[in-house]
């Protein structure tokens, strides 16, 4: 078991099941990578983290978007009952549209624009949506890793706890090996996956690592409901869930076969 840093406050995500898995939430001043295929809820998870900070913990938040327009965040958040436009008017939130190259250069200097945004509202949380756009700056994995490492350290210097989303082009299955490099830099790594179970598509979540803290190691099913993400019970009776095509364990396969034969209606003579 990995010992947790004692008595350190946590930044809850507001996602009850996930906070349980994380022993209460993310550690302060950490970079937390959320990786998944399109539609798995990476941005929703990040928005819920920002919303919870503002609504429950009085912690202002920043959203740095490299592609989506702020209006899309307002609309999507409102769908869950989170009024991001109101938060902005009240100076609890800033949705900043920019590009990775500008962000990186701006954060490196003293008193940059983004630093000013953070200090003006007293931001403690930040959502970076998405870190995948840093690939625009360099296609070389070593350079990219250095840039992201530097970027994460700047966020920590500003006292921010970050959720960084990362796109996985594969709808089903595991991350290709060359895509896992950034996972080493992040303090925690959460994978979101589509899984096919009995011809239906479900969503699965796994906390792969959390530096300096213990965390749940089981794979949980989750849903995106009317009030955000809801993490449910662990998957049971299936192996290879994160590969996208789980198979039943031998015991469950036998059980299913047994019950199926027992429940089969008697043949007519």
């Amino acid at each position: 078991m990995i010992p947790s840093i004692p008595n350190l406050p946590r930044l809850a995500t507001g996602i009850s099941g996930l906070d349980d898995m994380l022993q209460g939430g993310f550690l302060p001043r950490t970079a937390n990578l959320i990786e998944g295929a399109p539609g798995t809820g990476k941005t929703t998870l990040g928005m819920q983290f920002i919303h919870h900070g503002i609504a429950a913990d009085n912690e202002a938040g920043l959203i740095l978007t490299f592609e989506e327009f702020p209006i899309h965040y307002y609309r999507d958040a409102l769908g869950f009952g989170w009024d991001f436009q109101h938060y902005e008017k009240e100076n609890h939130l800033r949705v900043v549209m920019t590009s990775p190259e500008v962000t990186l250069s701006d954060l490196q200097r003293l008193g940059g624009i983004l630093e000013a945004h953070a200090s003006q509202i007293g931001a403690r949380r930040v959502l970076i949506d998405s870190i995948s756009h840093f690939e625009r700056i360099s296609s070389d994995p070593v350079t990219l890793r250095t840039l992201v490492y530097q970027f994460i350290n700047v966020l920590k210097r500003l006292g921010l706890t970050a959720v960084l989303t990362r796109e996985n082009p594969a709808l089903l299955g595991e991350t290709p090996e060359d895509e896992e490099d950034l996972a080493f830099i992040a303090d925690s790594y959460i994978m979101l996956r589509y899984v096919e179970i009995e011809s239906a598509l479900a969503k699965a979540l796994l906390v792969l690592k959390q530096r300096g803290s213990n965390h749940a190691r089981d794979i949980r099913q989750y849903q995106i409901g009317a009030t955000g993400i809801v993490v449910q019970e662990p998957f049971e009776g299936a192996q290879g869930v994160m590969s996208g095509s789980p198979v039943m364990t031998m015991r469950d396969a036998f059980q299913k076969a047994f019950f199926a034969s027992k429940n089969r209606p008697p043949e007519k003579s």
Binding site: T98, V102, D106, I113, H117
Partner: protein, 125 residues
């Protein structure tokens, strides 16, 4: 068009808030600038490069770059040099922001829009 008719059109089109008329004639005097002002009004915390901003509004970057520069020169935007990159944000000046808000809100009205378009076209010739 006869001179009397031109005069009448001009009088009708000039029937507009003088402050906004000046704003159109001196600052938002092209349709690209109009798009840019609307974009920065709706996304007030944008900080970006001309190429990116051109993508956001769906226009040619070669046309957008000089228009951003002109908007910065007229005080609508703030231009900054950052490690060799030229970046633009909305000017922090409160009066200017209020003027932009009044312009964008006025554009919701079709009559105002027609008049504003008339003045932009007139200014282009």
């Amino acid at each position: 068009m006869g001179s009397n008719q031109e005069e009448l059109t001009s009088r009708l089109m000039d029937d507009i808030d003088p402050d906004l008329l000046e704003f159109i004639q001196l600052r938002v005097n092209t349709f690209i600038k109009w798009d840019l002002v609307q974009f920065f009004h709706r996304n007030p915390h944008t900080t970006d490069l001309p190429n990116q901003i051109a993508q956001y509004i769906g226009r040619d970057p070669r046309i957008v770059a000089p228009e951003l520069k002109a908007l910065a020169a007229s005080g609508v935007l703030h231009e900054e040099e950052l490690q060799g990159m030229r970046i633009y944000t909305l000017a922090p000046d409160d009066d200017m922001r209020q003027r932009i808000t009044r312009f964008v809100e006025a554009c919701e009205d079709r009559q105002f829009r027609l008049k504003a378009i008339y003045h932009v076209i007139k200014g282009l010739h």
